[in-house]
């Protein structure tokens, strides 16, 4: 079953009077439970593709089905709901809220999902336990190492049990030791049946994936079959 299917995705940006085409017809399929790496040089359109897959942005043309649901035409508020329920983001720079402790950071998606306080506290604790941070619940992100911060970010991404886990250069700000630990976690999540999509330009990182999709000039040039 395809968790992601796109047909002829096109994304244009207008920079002043000049129209720039970031994506020029992406047809892509990703199956449930796959671990896919998206690779490409900077300016290739991989970030734009990730934003559209992550429902942060909408394509100019084309169709995008997420979990059999046509999301490319949805209004903004509905996209927010989709992001909350179906997508977990892990960013290169962690993007934790600095003034909240890590328990509260992990709780946030559940809060926006409308879950009650007691239940979401329990769920957030369990997830943080699973990434080995049970003893740091009250710590602020600034009191943690880079690797620990990224584990908090992963915990936040998976706490809602999303359909896809979307990671953008998740090891880009980490040393090789910490980066290795993070990739281990992604491998484990994948082995537990999660769909993982990772944007990277690091070949060693991409090698962990089942499949590598390569992008160049807004088109897929390789790896388009599951």
């Amino acid at each position: 079953m395809d968790i992601i299917r796109t047909q002829n995705l096109i994304k244009d940006y207008s920079l002043g009077k000049v129209k720039v085409r970031a994506l020029s017809g992406i047809d892509m399929r990703i199956e449930k439970g796959e671990f896919v790496a998206i690779m490409g040089p900077s300016g290739s359109g991989k970030s734009t593709l990730m934003h559209i897959i992550g429902c942060l942005d909408r394509p100019s043309e084309g169709e995008y089905y997420l979990d059999e649901m046509l999301v490319s035409q949805m209004p903004k508020s509905a996209l927010a709901t989709v992001r909350n329920r179906k997508i977990g983001f892990v960013f290169q720079s962690f993007n934790l809220l600095p003034h909240l402790n890590i328990l509260k950071n992990v709780e946030l998606p559940l809060m926006y999902g409308g879950m009650g306080k007691a239940k979401r506290l329990k769920q957030a604790r369990e997830i943080l336990d699973s990434v080995g941070l049970a003893d740091r619940l009250r710590h602020k992100p600034t009191e943690l190492s880079g690797g620990q911060r990224q584990r908090v970010a992963i915990a936040r991404a998976i706490v809602n049990n999303p359909s896809i886990l979307l990671a953008d250069e998740p090891t880009g700000n980490l040393d090789s030791q910490a980066g290795g630990d993070i990739l281990e976690i992604f491998n484990r999540l994948h082995s537990e049946g999660n769909t993982v999509i990772m944007v990277t330009h690091d070949a060693l990182v991409a090698d962990r994936a089942d499949r590598i999709i390569r992008i160049m000039d807004g088109r897929i040039v390789d790896g388009n079959t599951p």
Binding site: L56, D57, S77, A80, N84, R85, L97, Y112, G113, G114
Partner: protein
């Protein structure tokens, strides 16, 4: 799927606590504005209450007074006095009046008994005096109709006068002399007291103390035997209700004008109408100051709007993250609007507390009666919350409309 309002409030509180100094600076304008509103409303309220209790002590809102018209051009001739006959005529014309009492007053007459002498105002009155002033004899009796008809030599003393002459002894039945006449004490008036209101504080401890010095005799006795040259120049009348007072006042004015062949020798005023004028004045005074306070609140609101806009700019990335993990525009809108309203609301509470704390000092300083009320607190609070709502909307909309991709890119 939406976050609950309680979550937004918690979020707003923690944001405020995290940025205490900024929050305090943000809200100073609101605190001062609300404080001003509190103090001004309390002063207006106090003024009204003072007027009201004064009026009540002086016979209430049913009272109508006929007195010498000081703005009349006396060079045209005329005598501002009534004869007993005119008084009887006027009284007969006013069956709807609840009470009717003319008085002839002499400010300085000397009472004596043995060695003791006491100079004080003496009033010649009729029995209705007790109804008009709502003040009666405490011991013995007041002047009766019989005393008027028979020109009786009787007197009712104020408590201070009774104390001066008789101390603790019973004064009833005793004789006292006034202008060569022996008068029998038939009663002692009830003691009068009212706490001074503000400005009078410096001058006396009992703002009605002067009444305890007054003595009363039949009006007929006054103008025939005691002071034949004294004049009946004032009449107090009571209507059955404050509402009926205005009409009765007009009627009295017309009759008096006719009696005095069209000359405005007398002024006829009603307590109700005086009260309304005073209330109107204090309302205007209050409105001006509340307007000033509201302008300061608006300025405070604009400051808050700017600070919130800056805060949103600063927190763009945070907003981006919240949007990425599933916050809707509405959630972001609510987060910032609630935060603004909380800040101004807390500012309002602070302003109310500060206003309340300084109220009494202001009262003492201005020598005025200040009275806080629950309505004032609600008014101040709703104004401050309203400022938050109005000036919080623009920043909140701007935050809610951020594009997540652009917001996430912000450093």
């Amino acid at each position: 799927m939406a976050i609950h309002l309680s979550e937004s409030i918690k979020l707003g509180f923690s944001d405020i606590m995290m940025r205490k100094v900024r929050s305090v600076v943000t809200v100073i304008g609101i605190v001062l504005g609300v404080m001003c509103i509190m103090v001004v409303l309390a002063i207006v309220n106090g003024m009204n209450q003072s007027t009201m209790s004064w009026m009540n002590e002086r016979g209430g809102l049913n009272k109508i007074e006929v007195s010498k018209n000081w703005s009349y051009d006396w060079s045209k001739g005329g005598d501002a006095s009534f004869s007993l006959k005119e008084i009887r005529y006027l009284q007969a014309q006013l069956p709807e009046a609840e009470a009717f009492n003319p008085s002839a007053m002499d400010w300085e007459l000397t009472l004596s008994k043995g060695e003791t002498r006491y100079t004080t105002p003496i009033l010649g009155v009729m029995p209705d005096f007790t109804k008009v002033e709502e003040w009666n004899a405490d011991k013995g009796r007041f002047i009766l109709d019989r005393d008027i008809d028979e020109y009786s030599n009787v007197i009712v003393l104020g408590t201070e006068v009774a104390n001066t002459f008789f101390g603790n002894r019973n004064p009833l039945g005793e004789l006292i002399s006034l202008e060569g006449q022996q008068l029998m004490v038939v009663g002692v008036m009830k003691f009068r007291f009212m706490k001074p209101q503000g400005g009078e504080m410096a001058f006396s401890e009992n703002s009605l103390g002067y009444l305890n010095q007054r003595c009363f005799i039949p009006i007929s006795t006054m103008i025939s035997k005691i002071k034949p040259d004294s004049k009946i120049s004032s009449i107090d009348i009571r209507s059955t209700s404050p509402e009926a007072a205005a009409e009765l006042r007009k009627k009295v004015e017309n009759i008096v004008l006719n009696l005095k062949s069209g000359k405005r020798l007398f002024e006829v005023s009603s307590a109700k109408e005086q009260m309304d004028t005073m209330k109107q004045n204090s309302k205007i005074f209050g409105a001006i100051f509340v307007l000033i306070a509201i302008i300061s609140l608006l300025v405070g609101g604009i400051v808050i709007m700017n600070i919130m806009l800056a805060a949103i700019k600063e927190r763009t990335r945070e907003i981006g993250v919240r949007l990425a993990i599933g916050a809707r525009g509405w959630d972001i809108f609510l987060q910032f609007l609630v935060q603004t309203v909380l800040i101004t609301g807390l500012g309002g509470v602070l302003g109310i507390l500060l206003g309340y704390a300084i109220l009494n000092r202001v009262g003492v300083y201005l020598q005025m009666n200040v009275v806080a009320s629950v309505q004032m607190i609600w008014a101040a609070l709703s104004v401050s919350v309203g400022v938050g709502l109005i000036f919080g909307i623009v920043p909140a909309i701007r935050a809610a409309r951020l594009d997540p991709v652009i917001a996430l890119r912000e450093e």
